[in-house]
């Protein structure tokens, strides 16, 4: 499998960092399972994609699927560290209107702090 997933807590927010590719098969399944597991204990997730060099169409489906499950569990997923290509894809698919996207992790975490303040 070409995807490493690590999660940690930062200021009450769960940060999931991905390294590698989010593509159809084991990679997409692993990310889906990890987010599902974390949704049992957290409502605030930041998905840091700065280590991700490729997302295929199925991987994009996984991101949206995870977002939908989070919302229906009363939680939220914010994205950060997107490469140019993923930004383009989110623009073309208008998913940029769905996801909250931040340039870096600190900004994404800060957005949660503002929300609760």
């Amino acid at each position: 499998m070409n995807l490493k997933i690590a999660s940690r807590e930062a200021d009450g927010v769960t940060v999931i960092s991905c390294q590698g590719r989010i593509v159809a098969g084991d990679e997409a399944a692993a990310l889906r399972e990890e987010i599902k597991r974390l949704l049992g204990s957290t409502k605030k997730i930041v998905l840091n994609l700065s280590g991700v060099n490729y997302i295929d169409s199925s991987g994009l489906g996984t991101l949206v699927g995870a977002y939908s499950s989070a919302r229906s569990a009363g939680a939220d997923i914010k994205l950060c560290g997107l490469g140019q290509r993923l930004r383009d894809v989110l623009q073309i698919t208008k998913l940029v209107t769905v996801f909250e996207v931040y340039d870096n992790e600190a900004l994404a975490i800060a957005a949660y702090q503002r929300g609760t303040a």
């Binding site: 169409s57 994009l60 489906g61 996984t62 949206v64 699927g65 698919t93 208008k94 998913l95």
Partner: protein
């Protein structure tokens, strides 16, 4: 003699016996017949099918006993029916006919070696119950060699290995039951027991009676009168075989079945998957659960079989297990082959569904082309002429393979019927989005562009997350910013369309991301700038494919490329 050496020796015997059997073969009926066989020949392949039930169905439908995946074969083509021991072929009103020895028939009595053809007259045919030895089943072959007088010096052990090796070699019929009966009969002959049974574990792990015969060759269908306690013990033990002589062990004499059925000697051989032997040559510990057991017994009234040599039992234990395992593998292979065949049928249906007939209209010209990469992809385009104008759709379903193809077909069907029904474009995509999100098809979605141009040049289109279209107006390329979410991702997505007025000579070019993301050896994308440049210069969409191919050099496409071009002529 070491085990390996013994095996080699027996192989030689088998080869000799095989050629001998061909010479001494007395006639086709020298062995007991069970069922007639069909030899199905397709191209260079052939397989033998046991005609073990009636009616036996032939056709293109996947639930037929013999499925022939060829469009010339009708779905319900013909039946082979058994009446008073005779077999007839009956045509079921097939389109291209049923032929026996080249003659078209409605119903015909079948004789050995008859050649049957179902619709297809060239690449595939069936031979009914042929004589020749090459298509003989293991069982019939064994009945031949059992009749051969092997020299008196041949020991029982050699005979047994000969039987089993021959059966294994011929174990291509895929009929496990037949192999099991052969095994039981060979075991009876060699142990001189009265009854023999084979038990196999079913999927739940329970032992099930798979075959049984007595020394007269009669089938035994009931296992109530055997000693199940001995069977269970043997399966739990790690021994290669367990011989129980009730006359010698008093504590056994009290057991119910042994007393009730007067059993004297019971031999039970667990069937374990053949193990790889360790380097030292010692057999690996029999730790795996037995896949079944061979059980033989005889009563007090019968003769004593306690003298059966341990060598014979040991050979039965190992050879029988590999025999059964091989038969299972052949069955699994057959199942996989059937599955492949069904997939091939599905793929051909998919291809026919996806075939586009481009409508001829006086005010516009439409062209489209799809360049597939290796796998079945999720790209498709379709066009339909409606009262409201010429409608065209280009879609790209996420992922690849069967699941993408299935979704593409559904999507295409929905769009086609709703376009012909004259629905508004935004309602069509909203309906599809609702359908796919409601069905929870697991993160699968599609990007698409649905466009409709009226006779007067008014173009309306909806872009759902797709690569923006190229609007080419006298060498100027416009990429409209209009867009919506893809369909199938979010249930509450709203869709809006965009409109513009085309003038004669204007063109709308739609592409899938396989075009913009075609890569060259350096990993660069073909991208929008190159696409726009070639679209502005050229009047022909073939030039787009040429430009992509030139850009990629030798790098193979990683995704489908589809281009659709709509020219408004006025």
């Amino acid at each position: 003699m070491s085990f390996a050496a013994m095996r080699n020796a027996s192989l030689v015997v088998v080869n000799a016996a095989m050629s001998l059997s061909n010479i001494t073969q007395q006639g086709p009926d020298s062995g007991p017949e069970i069922f007639p066989r069909l030899v199905f020949v397709q191209g260079n392949e052939q397989r033998t099918i046991n005609l073990d039930h009636s009616p036996f169905s032939v056709g293109r439908k996947v639930d037929k006993d013999l499925v022939i995946a060829d469009p010339r074969v009708s779905r319900d083509h013909a039946l082979i029916v058994s009446e008073n021991g005779e077999f007839h072929v009956v045509d079921e009103g097939s389109k291209h006919g049923t032929f026996v020895n080249g003659e078209r028939v409605q119903r015909k009595l079948l004789e050995r070696n008859d050649r049957l053809e179902f619709g297809v007259r060239d690449v595939s045919y069936v031979v009914f119950n042929p004589h020749h030895a090459t298509s003989n089943s293991a069982r019939e072959f064994l009945s031949h060699i059992s009749g051969i007088h092997i020299s008196a010096a041949t020991t029982d052990l050699e005979k047994l290995t000969l039987f089993l090796e021959a059966a294994r070699k011929l174990n291509t019929t895929g009929v496990l039951d037949e192999i099991l009966v052969t095994l039981v009969e060979a075991t009876l002959k060699l142990t001189r027991a009265e009854r023999a049974y084979v038990f196999l574990r079913n999927e739940e792990g329970h032992l099930r009676l798979a075959a049984g015969r007595n020394s007269k060759g009669e089938p035994l269908l009931d296992d109530k009168t055997i000693s199940h306690s001995i069977l269970d013990e043997a399966l739990k033990s790690n021994s290669e075989f367990v011989v129980t002589d009730t006359s010698e062990s008093l504590d056994l004499a009290g057991r119910k079945s042994i007393v009730a059925f007067d059993l004297r000697t019971v031999i039970c051989i667990p069937l374990r998957k053949p193990q790889v032997q360790s380097a030292a040559g010692a057999a690996a510990p029999a730790s795996t659960e037995a896949m079944g057991a061979l059980y033989v017994d005889s009563r007090f009234a019968s003769h004593d079989m306690s003298g059966v040599s341990n060598d014979i039992l040991r050979v039965i234990a190992t050879e029988a297990a590999s025999l059964v395992e091989n038969a299972r593998l052949v069955q699994a292979e057959e199942a996989a082959r059937r599955y492949q065949q069904e997939l091939a049928i599905a793929a051909s249906i998919q291809q026919r569904l996806m075939a586009v007939t481009i409508p001829e209209v006086p005010f516009a010209q439409l062209r489209g082309r799809n360049l597939s990469c290796k796998e079945i992809g999720g790209d498709f385009f379709d066009a339909v002429n409606t009262k409201e104008g010429l409608a065209v759709v280009l879609a790209d379903v996420s992922g690849k393979g069967v699941s993408a193809a299935l979704l593409a077909s559904t999507l295409q069907g929905m769009i086609y019927s709703q376009l012909t029904g004259g629905m508004a474009l935004t309602e069509i995509v909203a309906g599809i989005n609702q359908f796919f999100t409601h069905k929870h098809i697991g993160e699968k979605y599609a990007t698409l562009i649905l466009a409709r141009v009226r006779r007067d040049g008014e173009l309306e289109y909806v872009n759902c997350g797709h690569v923006p279209p190229l609007l080419v107006c006298s060498q100027e390329v416009i990429r409209p910013a209009h867009g919506n979410l893809p369909v199938g991702l979010l249930a509450d997505a709203a869709y809006q369309s965009d409109r513009c007025q085309l003038r004669p000579g204007d063109r709308l070019v739609l592409v899938t991301d396989g075009v913009t993301e075609a890569e060259n050896a350096r990993g660069d994308f073909f991208d929008n700038e190159r696409l726009e440049a070639v679209a502005a210069k050229s009047e022909s969409m073939e030039d787009i494919f040429t430009a992509v191919a030139k850009f990629c050099g030798g790098t193979p496409l990683s995704d489908d490329c589809t281009v659709v071009e709509l020219s408004y002529t006025g």
